[in-house]
């Protein structure tokens, strides 16, 4: 049943966004396995409630930073679906003109400052974005998504300390999907968890069921509200579970089948469907989303690859390789 303070329309919208991320990534993983998409895909299947719940309380002016598993963050922030599909296919018209691919999807027009191939790479960028926005007189806030693996890197501690020292409006969102690449994070992480580390730096926050979009949204709304009121940084620890392997080619043989089975029963899409209480309406959304993804995939399949000469564009203005080549 919908939460009291959420309209049914809004909850359907959250469900649609989560479903869009799921179908988009499932489609791209299949296309990769079929040889249509180069490289590899880091799927966030199972984690959709986190970006959708958080971005639901952000404005277009607010910024987010993301991870190597960033399609969901981008789509939740409003990135163009068709252009994201074109980017994963490496085609003309892609968000990054085919230069980034899955691991570097970005849509600055909606405040999505880029996925990032480096674990914890987005954290310093997020605190700096908040600092820059403050200097410019903006009221916007920054949400910084990272995984449970990132909390063991130095920039995590540096970023928490930095945001606290300067009182910056950064929401640190630990999307804890249980795995650091191929390794269960519990075997490589000391102490009581990410939230305690944040609290040690004076950053208050909450732990939330990362498979429950209503709960994520409610927590994010509280924390972002405090940030907008001048409260400084906040931390949101979202416990969830990665359904896929680390990348599309990883069979994830290192994990127990019963763990996956249990997680699948807590699929955030199923959780939200239960909250919606209207299977027919949810089915209708599913069909619409699948049709839309099929449409954009068809566009991507037919689009041309960028011409070779574009490899030399957008490196730098001064001392650009194009200038060098012309010499």
């Amino acid at each position: 049943m919908p939460a009291a303070d959420l309209s049914a329309d809004h909850l359907f919208d959250l469900y649609r966004r989560m479903k869009t991320i799921r179908v988009f990534e499932d489609t791209c993983v299949a296309a990769h396995k079929a040889g249509e998409i180069p490289g590899y895909i880091h799927s966030s299947a199972g984690q959709e409630a986190v970006p959708v719940g958080v971005c639901a309380v952000l404005t277009r002016e607010d910024r987010i930073t993301s991870t190597h598993r960033g399609h969901g963050h981008g789509l939740a922030k409003g990135a163009d679906l068709e252009r994201m599909m074109l980017e994963l296919y490496g085609r003309v018209g892609g968000l990054c003109g085919g230069k980034g691919g899955s691991m570097h999807v970005a849509d600055f027009s909606v405040g999505m400052l880029g996925a990032n191939g480096i674990v914890a790479g987005g954290i310093p960028i997020a605190v700096g974005a908040a600092q820059g926005l403050r200097l410019l007189g903006s009221q916007a806030v920054v949400a910084c998504f990272f995984g449970d693996g990132a909390v063991n890197r130095g920039p995590f501690m540096e970023g928490l300390n930095w945001a606290a020292v300067y009182g910056l409006p950064v929401l640190f969102v630990c999307e804890d999907n249980t795995f650091s690449a191929f390794t269960h994070s519990s075997t490589t992480t000391a102490g009581p968890g990410p939230l305690a580390r944040a609290q040690a730096c004076g950053v208050a926050g909450e732990r939330v069921d990362g498979n429950d979009v209503i709960a994520v949204r409610a927590a994010a709304e509280r924390l972002v509200g405090e940030m907008r009121a001048g409260g400084g940084p906040r931390f949101l620890w979202c416990r969830t579970y990665r359904f896929s392997g680390h990348v599309s080619i990883d069979p994830a043989t290192y994990r127990k089948q019963e763990d996956l089975d249990a997680a699948l029963k807590r699929d955030p899409l199923l959780v939200t469907r239960g909250q919606l209480g209207d299977a027919a309406a949810a089915d209708a959304i599913d069909a619409e989303v699948e049709a839309e993804i099929a449409r954009v995939q068809d566009i991507a399949r037919k689009a041309p690859y960028p011409p070779r000469a574009e490899a030399f564009d957008d490196v730098q203005d001064i001392g650009s390789p194009a200038v060098e080549a012309a010499r």
Binding site: I125, G132, Q316, D317, G319
Partner: protein, 321 residues
């Protein structure tokens, strides 16, 4: 009327000028409110306050990365790294992030930052406070690399760096910050990629930059006294670099001696030398530091320095040979 000031003060005054011109320029780094360790930020905190002159934790990764984040939302950060050796904890943010955001995001983003890096051999500073690493960054697409050797060039190139949209790694000669010069007149912007001829000659081309320049200048004067006229070029920026001027000079003299501070193997001097070899018939030689960490004791450290006598001897051998 004279205006005798240190190179550090020249740097600070130039930055102040640019900060008055552009309110989106700001500084972040350790101890910048105290004026920086070489006085290269002297007076800025007093004029621009804590919002634009930001003292940071000793957290190089985040100093660099936060600078990038602030650039991505439309400000122009000056990222102070204190000394070159301290760039290493921030290599990810500089090489993986700053250098590549424009490209990998298909032109959506610009990392308009100036990363200020005092560098070079500094007596008694040993293996982790005395490194010369500018060559590393020439190897990274996306970065502009400047390495001035005089106060006027530092001022002019810093102006250009603060006005350009590309990320600039700005190496400053740290052993020379206290040098004084009479800085009369304006200190106009200097374009990147233009070498400066420090001495004109017909017998041998000498190419150098940054902290190797004083020895090269002294050597060229000594050579002249012995009847060998060196054509001495200060590259001033390493990417882009003025290959046209170097090749033209090498074609004229038929001999090119490349002089660099820092490890020679895979150093920027190799890039200069191979370019000359590929595009001219000139003979090429290179002088550089040996491939050892910088040692502490003066007798040991001395082997890293390129002394004027070494340049004189190499140039004379080339002219004789």
């Amino acid at each position: 009327m004279s205006n005798v000031i240190t190179m550090g003060e020249v740097a600070a005054r130039t930055l102040a000028d640019e900060m008055r011109r552009d309110p989106t320029i700001w500084v972040l780094g350790e101890d910048v409110q105290a004026g920086g360790i070489f006085a290269q930020y002297k007076g800025l905190f007093q004029e621009f306050g804590a919002a634009r002159v930001v003292n940071t934790p000793i957290a190089e990764s985040t100093i660099m990365g936060a600078g990038l984040g602030a650039a991505l939302v439309g400000t122009r950060p000056v990222i102070e790294m204190r000394i070159a050796d301290f760039v290493m904890p921030a290599i990810d943010e500089l090489v993986n992030q700053i250098a590549k955001v424009r490209y990998m995001f298909g032109g959506q983003a610009r990392a308009s930052v100036v990363v200020r890096v005092p560098h070079g051999l500094h007596p008694g500073s040993a293996a982790q406070h005395s490194q010369v690493i500018e060559s590393w960054f020439v190897n990274v697409p996306g970065l502009v690399v400047a390495a001035p050797s005089t106060a006027l060039d530092l001022a002019g190139l810093l102006r250009t760096a603060l006005r350009c949209d590309d990320p600039v790694v700005f190496f400053e000669p740290k052993a020379m910050f206290k040098n004084v010069a009479d800085m009369l007149g304006d200190w106009p912007a200097i374009p990147f990629g233009k070498a400066e001829r420090r001495r004109e000659g017909k017998d041998v081309t000498i190419v150098s930059w940054a902290q190797a320049m004083p020895a090269a200048i002294e050597a060229a004067a000594a050579l002249s006294a012995d009847g060998v006229e060196a054509d001495l070029l200060d590259l001033r920026t390493l990417w882009p670099w003025d290959s046209e001027a170097v090749l033209a000079s090498a074609a004229r003299t038929g001999r090119a001696l490349v002089v660099q501070e820092g490890v020679g193997a895979s150093g920027f001097g190799a890039e200069v030398a191979v370019t000359i070899a590929e595009h001219s018939a000139a003979r090429v030689r290179r002088l550089a530091s040996p491939r050892i960490p910088v040692p502490f004791a003066p007798t040991l450290e001395d082997v890293c320095f390129i002394r004027p006598g070494m340049i004189v001897a190499a140039a004379k051998e080339m002219v004789a040979g």
